[in-house]
């Protein structure tokens, strides 16, 4: 079925939907002003908190103070640097990859029964490596110095989707994430080309099975629909022809390999141009389409700013500018997160945190370390509806209100409770006990809030404690009545001991509807 592009509205230019009565009016900025930089005078503590909550996981007071002192341009340059910090490959993943060639050889020489045993062993090791890398990523991301970079990496991996569930190889997943991170602040076309070569993507979107005489269209379709252009900005024929250019892309033992005899070198006609295009040529061609400028910004809005569509006249202006910057991702981040539109009152404190952000914000707000307990931590994320490296489908996570239902909200509340109660070590299995011991030796052993934490509040008045909670935990400025409610509870909330009242107030505030927002 061919659909002419003109018959569809592009996702990137959705018609404005009438806002619900409870929503702040959409921004009144003109399209020309929307993307200009916020004036330095307007970058106050509240604006800094908004920026930090949206581009990292939380807004810690010292980070807020630093941002205000540095000013917006310097802060953005620091949050989105030219060179991302690399994440070291976790040991279990490394070992898995080292053993791969030898394993492949053993598999070749095995009889059917041995093959099954070997494959099972490989799956188990991969599963353990997957857990290891998930925990290591959470630990890495929870460091304030990496937070913006890793949230950006998460954003891009929500576009360039792969899933551990389908490819079952932790090494491939790790390398895919590493490729995204490496190219996260460079030109987008280079990122797209790198992703077309990751073993994870080659397997996830079936390039592995795409043959010269039987091209598989899966990758070509998602390349146009989800990675570069958005739905409706290409024809079915463009996909069929483009698929031929990606034939011969293979992975062997976790490395990209190009198999010439499986590649179709004949001329292809894509977006009205005809030549013997390669895969890279197709990606360059896609970026020459007008929709390429607005597609990624459209996704950026959805991931960082709002579930509601922007007024339709805003994105094209940004898209044209971004195309002229050779699609530089770092330039886009600086422009977007420095813009008047981003700081508009319409977008303050009303975005629902993803489970990953909820968890990492909790650890930061409570000054905790990520516990190396895969079962508990990853289990909790799963209950809240987000399993790392496993989005529900190729579209990635829908987000927004989709995150919240009675079960997932219950899981969020339960996680808060968990972080305020001692770990029941008798219930840990032997592997977990080993991990805990190792973390303690490493000085990373603040897994739950204990009396030590609460002592910090001993010298404060109820008003001071309330302010500290409300300003750090909750987005936006709290209404006076809300503030009074918290202060009153801290003054005489059912317990004689201030630390007990502090503990109870903190738990309730972290479970409150407002804390789910950023």
């Amino acid at each position: 079925m061919e659909t002419p592009a003109s018959a569809k509205t592009t996702s990137a230019s959705n018609a404005a939907v009438a806002p619900a009565s409870t929503q702040p009016a959409p921004p009144t900025l003109s399209p020309a002003d929307a993307w200009t930089q916020l004036p330095a005078s307007a970058f106050d503590a509240a604006a800094a908190r908004h920026l930090l909550r949206r581009v990292t996981w939380s807004a810690q007071p010292d980070e807020v103070a630093r941002a205000v002192a540095d000013g917006l341009p310097t802060t953005l340059a620091r949050l989105f640097p030219a060179e991302p910090v690399a994440l070291a490959k976790p040991k279990l993943v490394e070992r898995l990859e080292e053993d791969t060639p030898d394993f492949a050889k053993r598999l070749r020489d095995a009889d059917p029964l041995q093959k099954r045993v070997l494959q099972k062993e490989a799956r188990d090791r991969s599963q353990q490596a997957y857990q290891d890398m998930s925990i290591k990523w959470l630990q890495f991301s929870s460091a304030p110095a990496h937070a913006a970079q890793e949230k950006w990496t998460l954003f891009l991996s929500d576009i360039y989707v792969i899933s551990f569930e389908k490819i079952k190889n932790a090494g491939h997943v790790f390398d895919h994430q590493a490729a995204i991170r490496r190219h996260a602040f460079g030109p987008a076309p280079a990122l797209t080309k790198a992703i077309s070569r990751t073993p994870a993507m080659i397997r996830y979107l079936d390039l592995q099975d795409s043959k010269r005489d039987a091209p598989n269209e899966n990758f070509a379709r998602e390349l146009f629909e989800l990675f570069v252009l958005g739905e409706g900005n290409y024809t079915e024929k463009d996909i069929k022809e483009a698929a031929r250019a990606f034939t011969g892309y293979r992975q062997r033992l976790g490395e990209f390999s190009f198999v010439q005899r499986q590649h179709d070198p004949r001329p292809k006609t894509v977006f009205g141009k005809t030549a013997a295009f390669t895969g890279d040529d197709i990606i360059d061609l896609a970026y020459k389409q007008p929709a390429a400028g607005t597609w990624l910004p459209h996704e950026l809005v959805r991931f960082y700013l709002t579930d509601d569509p922007l007024p339709p006249e805003y994105l094209p202006a940004l898209g044209q500018w971004w195309s002229a910057q050779a699609f530089d991702l770092r330039a886009l981040a600086h422009r977007f997160f420095g813009s008047q539109l981003f700081f508009s009152p319409s977008y303050r404190g009303n975005y629902i945190k993803s489970p990953v952000q909820f968890y990492l914000a909790l650890t930061q707000d409570l000054q905790l370390d990520v516990a190396p307990l895969a079962r508990q931590v990853l289990g909790s994320l799963r209950q809240m509806g987000q399993t790392l490296y496993n989005p529900p489908n190729v579209r990635g996570w829908v987000g927004g209100r989709q995150w919240i239902n009675s079960a997932t909200f219950g899981a969020r509340r339960q996680l808060v409770q968990t972080l305020f109660n001692p770990i029941n070590e008798a219930n840990l299995n032997a592997d977990e006990q080993v991990e805990i011991v190792a973390a303690r030796a490493d000085g990373k052993d603040r897994f739950v809030v204990d009396s030590e934490h609460l002592k910090a509040f001993a010298g404060l008045t109820a008003e001071q404690a309330a302010s500290r909670f409300l300003d750090t935990f909750l987005p936006g400025t709290s209404a006076p009545a809300y503030r009074d409610e918290v202060t009153a509870f801290l003054k005489d909330g059912g317990s004689k001991q201030l630390t007990q009242r502090v503990r109870n107030a903190a738990i309730a505030l972290l479970q409150s509807p407002e804390y789910q927002l950023c």
Binding site: T22, R123, R375, S406, Q414, N429, G494, S512, P513
Partner: protein, 418 residues
Amino acid sequence: MNNSPHFLPTTRREFLRFSGSGIGLLAFSNFAPSFLVQSTLAATPRPEKDRSILVLVQLAGGNDGLNTVIPFEDANYYRLRPTIGIAKDQALRLSDTLGLHPACTAMHELFKGGKLGVIQNVGYPNPNRSHFRSTEIWESGSDSNQILSSGWIGRFLDNTCSGTPVADNDPTAIHLSGEVPQTFLADQAHQTFGLNPNTIGRRENKQNMEFLERLVHQPSADHDEHGNNSFLKQTMMDALVTEKRVQKVLGGYQPASTYPGNPFAQSLKSVAALIAAGLSTRVYFVSLGGFDTHANQANLHQNLMKTLSDGLAAFQKDLEAHKLDDQVTTMTFSEFGRRPMENESKGTDHGTAAPLFVMGSKIKGGLHGTAPDLNLARNQDLTYTTDFRQVYATMLDRWFSCPTDQILGKSYQPLGFI
């Protein structure tokens, strides 16, 4: 909003009383609490009070099956377990060849009364020895090489509880564990509810709820509230309403048997209270941890067995006294059994198959399935003879009268315990 109530109505009548007195409970929200949308009194028990209920008891960490159900006539057992094997004269007789762990005296009584079934040697092909993964397999009901994101109970809820309005706001499933069990995860959203066994009935828990209620009634920011905030408040109100009802039920419950003081038994007492209150909840999940007995197992396992046995027996006795026993079947499960051969630390390492228990007045007690073959070499594992999904299929088909294929993905031979 000055005179707004600091508590949520849990019945329609209360709600109308507030609204009538001009208190705008909904002033800040586009939504009413769900249960008010249906015109039902929250406290009215549903007509289908006689529906079957399943209580799942997780033994987390991998329960040692061979020391739970002891093959005291098999020389291999004592060969494999020279120090931790349990002597023939200690075991509580189940048959001429099998006995229960000596700490399970209360369960032994249930067995003799025909209310306890032992399903022997339960496992699955290509067993996985990772706690995490094997728990996932059991809770999702998947094959060993298949990853399912939903749980078998979640799919049961999808199948039977979808599209029916939850008129009385009862959760479809309730867990009393620190985490939401994977077995509840479903493709559709269901109202499930969790109680932390460590905080049930604690004063601070009550304070926490009361304070949350007060917060939910306060507009949090000066400007108009965004739709997302209203939506979150709405979801939270529903949860608090449920929680209040649950706490009310638990607080006013008079058990008819004496429950031990440990969190596990207290969790079962809470389950009995909720069942007695006529909640329409179909599935309860309770967890007992600490079964990962790699070293010095004897004492640890003894205590665990006693906790399990006394807790289950108190629960069953309580149900019977309240005449609720016909409605309830209880079933234990654990992610794996342990290796038949003991290790160098007087403990056992991760294994494969193990027995599980079913308990209730409606089940067929006694021994089901076949005992494991212990003619094994060093460190060799048991080979399962009953697939755990046969147990699930029996529950779904004969207890819940619900088609099993869609939930389990294929057909499994049911067993004779129901």
